[in-house]
């Protein structure tokens, strides 16, 4: 009897797992939900300059991954905001990933992580759900003293017809789309970051090579500046397919 049951189990397993050869291996790739382009000017105050993508990043990700980055400077206050977009290619496993992974790999420690609703663009959704990270790393000032240097980063993912700030939800969307619709969404990972300059003199070089000192901003002030910037920059790259709002809004 045991031999007979073992035969049933072995056949069941071989035939069942063998169905993997009948499973389609590819899926239709949906168009991106963004335009891979950032404007030179946002609103009336923010002027952007291109930021180079390092060779290490290009080699580390799939070859058809798209990048665009700009550093925006407010010509009135001197504040600076970094905006970066990474657009995944066909190889979803090696295109984009959560910033928590790459931040830690770069030596940052994530001190706080929360999901926030920030105002969307007036012509688009009323609000956008975004993940806000506060991360820090120890640096030495010019006089050798240790200092905990902090940044505030906002990020979220924009797909062909979904938007989310959660990695788990993005994974769920991918599983759903492949199983139910047989398609892949082409995800864009948008990150907007600024430094918390409170307690330190942060001197940077502008586009002309001149040294400028960034204004003192606390964590709350830095967050407010970014949250006011987001609805201004969003319409410049977020695509609205045939006038339909993106799902989830």
């Amino acid at each position: 009897m045991i031999t007979k049951r073992l035969l049933v189990v072995a056949l069941f397993l071989a035939l069942g797992l063998g169905c993997v050869f009948l499973v389609p291996s590819s899926a239709r790739l949906q168009p991106a939900g963004i335009v891979l382009n950032l404007p030179t000017q946002v609103g009336s105050d923010w002027i952007g300059q291109d930021v180079e993508v390092t060779e290490k990043e290009r080699v580390g990700l799939a070859s058809d991954t798209g990048f665009v980055r700009k550093l925006y400077t407010n010509r009135n206050t001197g504040d600076q905001i970094f905006v970066g977009i990474v657009l995944s290619g066909e190889d979803m496993a090696n295109s984009i990933h959560r910033p928590e992974r790459c931040l830690i790999a770069q030596g940052w420690a994530v001190a706080d992580s929360q999901t926030r609703l920030v105002p969307g663009a007036p012509s688009a959704a009323p609000s956008v759900e975004i993940k806000r990270l506060v991360h820090s790393r120890p640096v030495k000032t010019t006089d050798g003293k240790p200092f905990n240097y902090r940044n505030v980063t906002y990020y979220w993912f924009i797909g062909s017809h979904d938007r989310t700030a959660s990695h788990w939800q993005r994974t769920f969307f991918d599983i759903r789309d492949r199983l139910v619709y047989g398609e892949n969404q082409r995800w864009a990972y948008v990150t907007i970051a600024t430094a918390v300059t409170e307690g330190i003199r942060h001197v940077v070089k502008d586009a002309q090579g001149r040294q400028i000192e960034l204004p003192q901003r606390s964590e709350e002030q830095a967050s407010k500046i970014v949250e006011e910037f987001i609805p201004q920059v969003l319409p410049s790259f977020e695509r609205r397919g045939a006038g339909e709002p993106i799902a989830g809004l």
Binding site: L13, G16, S25, A111, D174, I175
Partner: protein
């Protein structure tokens, strides 16, 4: 030769009168069972049932082929086992991954006695569980999620046991199969290190201050109040590695030592506490060593061995202590003392003693007497 002062000879004292020694037949000592005796029994069974042995081998071979040599992931380049092996790395805090199959085999070997005494049977539910495992594998291939393929393995193994050998055998192997879920690297582990880093830093700082070593905890930095030394509690020091390992070890510990299900659940749920205790003890010891022997030595040589000489022993000690607490039972004497009725109040002035009791008119401060 007889002496005039000696006692008269008797049958017992004369050597010639002593009965000859009796030979007591020695019963041969029962041979000690070697530790591999149970395994030999299974080996003999397999040899006596070549068809069953071949089919078992076919089952294992099918699993190996589909998990090791079929490449449904990463654009058709990677099999489930290849993905799993690459995911077991320091970045994901899963360096302990290769030990999991070894522990699984040990748990199966440990369950041999239960398996030998199990009543053979069969349950069609085994096919349903097996079918669920197959479905998970197929879904993982379509959705490109290798974690789902790994999650299917416990169902495939346990479903097969349930169908082929029945409920009692499946019950004996339930924990070993469930233990295989630890193989799956969880994606959010990196974020968990943040909370652990902050918590470990705060607790270590508080412990140092408690023992008189003045420290300041600032985010994930621990520095001496007089700035003599400071340490950045990196994600590697957050304790996440030991957290995963201690959670696994706690699971094995409760399985092998606890008799009731609620005790297993309580102790397993507390595994995070054991890991934190171990890590806080380790960080505190590093600060103490830094105070007396310098930051360099504390941060390098001592740090490298501290997990083994401080972290794990403290974690195991707290695990053992928690086990003692959940297994504590009052002794018979304690029970009797707690359930003993209250001593009678002192008798009124001039009162007579009750029948059978020797009492006295005692003042309020005197100790009560009891009927023995």
């Amino acid at each position: 030769m007889n002496s005039s002062n000696s006692s008269p000879p008797d049958a017992l004292s004369s050597p010639a009168a002593l009965p000859p020694p009796r030979r007591v037949p020695r019963t041969p000592a029962a041979p000690l069972e070697p530790w591999y005796a149970e395994t030999l029994v299974w080996g003999r069974w397999l040899i006596s049932q070549p068809a069953a042995a071949a089919l078992l081998l076919a089952f294992v071979a099918a699993l190996t082929v589909f998990y090791g040599f079929v490449h449904p992931f990463n654009s058709g380049k990677v099999s489930a086992f290849q993905w799993m092996w690459s995911a077991w790395n320091p970045e994901t805090h899963y360096e302990h991954g290769p030990f999991i199959p070894c522990v699984f085999l040990f748990l199966v070997w440990n369950a041999q006695a239960k398996l030998r005494n199990a009543t053979l049977g069969s349950s069609k539910w085994g096919l349903a569980v097996l079918g669920f495992g197959v479905l998970l594998y197929l879904v993982s291939a379509r959705a490109l999620q290798p974690r789902l393929a790994l999650a299917a393995i416990p169902f495939l193994l346990w479903g097969a046991v349930l169908y082929v050998w029945g409920r009692q055998a499946a019950r004996a192997l339930l924990f070993p199969c469930a233990f295989l879920f630890f193989m799956i690297p969880l994606p959010g582990v990196e974020q968990a290190t943040v909370g652990l880093q902050l918590l470990a830093t705060k607790l270590a700082g508080a412990t140092c201050n408690l023992i008189g070593l003045r420290m300041v905890a600032d985010g994930t930095t621990l520095r001496a109040a007089n700035d003599a030394f400071h340490f950045e509690i990196a994600d590697g020091c957050s304790g996440i590695n030991s957290f995963m390992a201690i959670t696994m070890l706690t699971a094995v510990f409760v399985h092998m030592t606890q008799d009731r299900f609620w005790k297993k659940v309580v102790l397993f749920a507390a595994s995070g506490v054991f890991a934190i205790v171990g890590n806080v003890a380790r960080l505190t010891s590093i600060m103490i060593v830094a105070r007396f022997f310098g930051q360099d030595f504390a941060g390098k040589q001592f740090h490298d061995v501290s997990a083994y000489i401080i972290s794990f022993p403290f974690a195991f000690a707290s695990m053992w202590l928690a086990s003692k607490v959940v297994n504590w039972k009052p002794t018979a004497e304690q029970k009797e003392r707690w359930t003993r009725p209250a001593a009678p109040a002192s008798s009124p002035a001039g009162g007579t003693a009750a029948a059978g009791l020797a009492t006295a008119a005692t003042p309020a401060t005197a100790r009560p007497t009891y009927d023995y």
